[in-house]
């Protein structure tokens, strides 16, 4: 598989404080990469970088053939090829259907009624299409957020703790949707999660971030069963004190 993202010598600093320092990382087309690590390890910063919402302080981020640059137009064009589903989705004060159609409208993409319906059917919310989005439960809102991301048919879907604070039923539903999206459409998925079982269930590869640094990236089985770095072993066994 070829790399969709290539990060080289990337650092991100807030004021003078370094929050991310990745020497080398490739994210492959069509894979599900789980990003794990303790709170404050730089996982969300990495996702913002991959969504082109946060430029690197130094280093190089390549997305396919394009280089993440300071150009506002180029950044917007790259940003429009990916999207993020956040831990706490903020939906517009509109109907579910309007929320799902919102992303394509922003991007100037003409999606038909059938695409909206298909996205809603995919997340099992067809009946709620006309309901005000602000009246939904947490699980339903997260599924709407997934539908509004899926309808964009992104090259990469970035998930920032998408099932945190959800009940097991909704966790299961969302995991099924994510796996299906990857399998059927070949969408590259980067999943930030604290749930190691989820990472193991869904991901092809896993990455451990510690204090902003990529400690180890390996296929899921190796990562969880015979990691190369002792810190990875300690983390997956829950022995790491941080």
């Amino acid at each position: 598989m070829t790399a969709l993202y290539s990060l080289r010598q990337v650092t991100v600093r807030y004021a003078a404080r370094p929050v991310l320092a990745v020497e080398e990382l490739d994210i492959l087309r069509g894979e599900i990469l789980a990003v794990v690590g303790p709170s404050g390890a730089g996982k969300s910063t990495l996702l913002r970088l991959l969504n082109f919402l946060q430029p690197p302080t130094t280093g190089e981020v390549r997305f396919g053939d394009a280089l993440y640059s300071a150009s506002r137009d180029a950044t917007l064009a790259m940003r429009r090829r990916v999207t993020t589903v956040f831990q706490r989705p903020v939906l517009l004060r509109r109907t579910v259907e309007v929320n799902v159609a919102y992303g394509p409208r922003l991007r100037g993409v003409d999606v038909g009624r059938a695409d909206i319906d298909a996205a809603l059917a995919e997340v099992g919310l067809t009946e709620l299409a006309q309901q005000p989005a602000r009246t939904l439960s947490g699980g339903e809102a997260q599924r709407v957020a997934l539908a509004r991301a899926m309808v964009l048919r992104p090259d990469a879907l970035l998930l920032d703790e998408p099932t945190a604070n959800l009940d097991p039923y909704n966790v299961g539903l969302i995991e099924q949707i994510v796996a299906r999206l990857n399998r059927q459409h070949g969408t590259t998925i980067v999943l930030v999660t604290h749930n190691l079982h989820q990472a193991r269930r869904l991901a092809h590869r896993a990455l451990l971030l510690l204090e902003g640094r990529a400690v180890e990236v390996a296929d899921t089985r190796t990562f969880f069963e015979s990691p190369a770095d002792p810190r990875t072993g300690a983390f997956v066994r829950g022995e790491m004190v941080y």
Binding site: R80, T83, F86, V90, R93, T95, Y102, G103, L152
Partner: protein
């Protein structure tokens, strides 16, 4: 007084175009002033609420000061600016409104309404969930689309801001009296007509004019509440 009021109402209902003229002029002056204030004030409020720039605190302080400024002082200020010996009036600029014209009244009302619209818009956009901005950008919104999305989310508050501006100008009397002069057939609006009729002792007529003014304010607010209601239902 109740007899006088009934008589005045009959007088008004059966009356002349003079009253219609006063009502229409009130609507025209306040409507144009509100439109100008909204066109300028909503973007200014959004900018103050969303952007961080040098001098923002000073700008916010000025807006807040403007919101609390007595209209009659604004009228005096505009009067001094536009009078023939005033700072601007003495320049004889052809595009500058002249005193005792509806245009001068519009200028005064813009100065009254603008800080109200900008200040309440600022508060409304600041009340929108801060996470929305990042999430809309993640969906691919440009800078303008992001600002528009936040304004749309804050629309109930933005509408309230426009209504605050409307309330500020439609009921205002001091500034329009000073710069308009309450000239019959030219610059007489409902509020100045009420003052005049009261001074003449025509309390019934003054009250009836007040009822019309109240009716206009009620109608405007009713329409806005209806729009807000639809928003809440979505």
């Amino acid at each position: 007084m109740s007899n006088g009021f009934a008589e005045a109402l009959t007088q008004i209902l059966g009356r002349d175009n003079q009253l219609l003229e006063i009502v229409l002029l009130s609507l025209r002056v306040s409507g144009i002033a509100l439109a100008i204030s909204s066109v300028i004030g909503i973007p200014v409020g959004a900018l103050l609420g969303l952007a961080r720039f040098r001098g923002r605190r000073l700008a916010v302080a000025l807006v807040y000061t403007g919101m609390a400024f007595p209209p009659v002082v604004i009228g005096l200020f505009v009067y001094l600016l536009l009078s023939r010996s005033g700072v601007l009036g003495s320049l004889g600029l052809p595009w500058l409104p002249r005193l005792f014209t509806p245009e001068a009244m519009i200028l005064a009302q813009v100065i009254i309404a603008l800080p109200l619209v900008a200040g309440f818009t600022m508060a409304a956009v600041q009340g929108v969930d801060p996470a929305l901005r990042l999430q809309v950008q993640a969906l691919g919104a440009s800078r303008w689309q992001t600002t528009w999305a936040i304004l749309e989310e804050a629309r109930v508050g933005v509408i309230a801001a426009v209504m605050a501006g409307f309330g500020g100008v439609i009921s205002e009397v001091g500034a329009v009296m000073l710069v308009g002069g309450n000239i019959e057939g030219q610059t007489r609006v409902l509020t100045t007509a009420i003052v005049l009729e009261t001074n003449k002792g025509n309390f019934g007529l003054a009250l009836a004019l007040g009822v019309i003014l109240l009716g206009m304010a009620f109608a405007a607010n009713f329409i806005i509440l209806h729009l807000q209601g639809r928003t809440f239902d979505e």
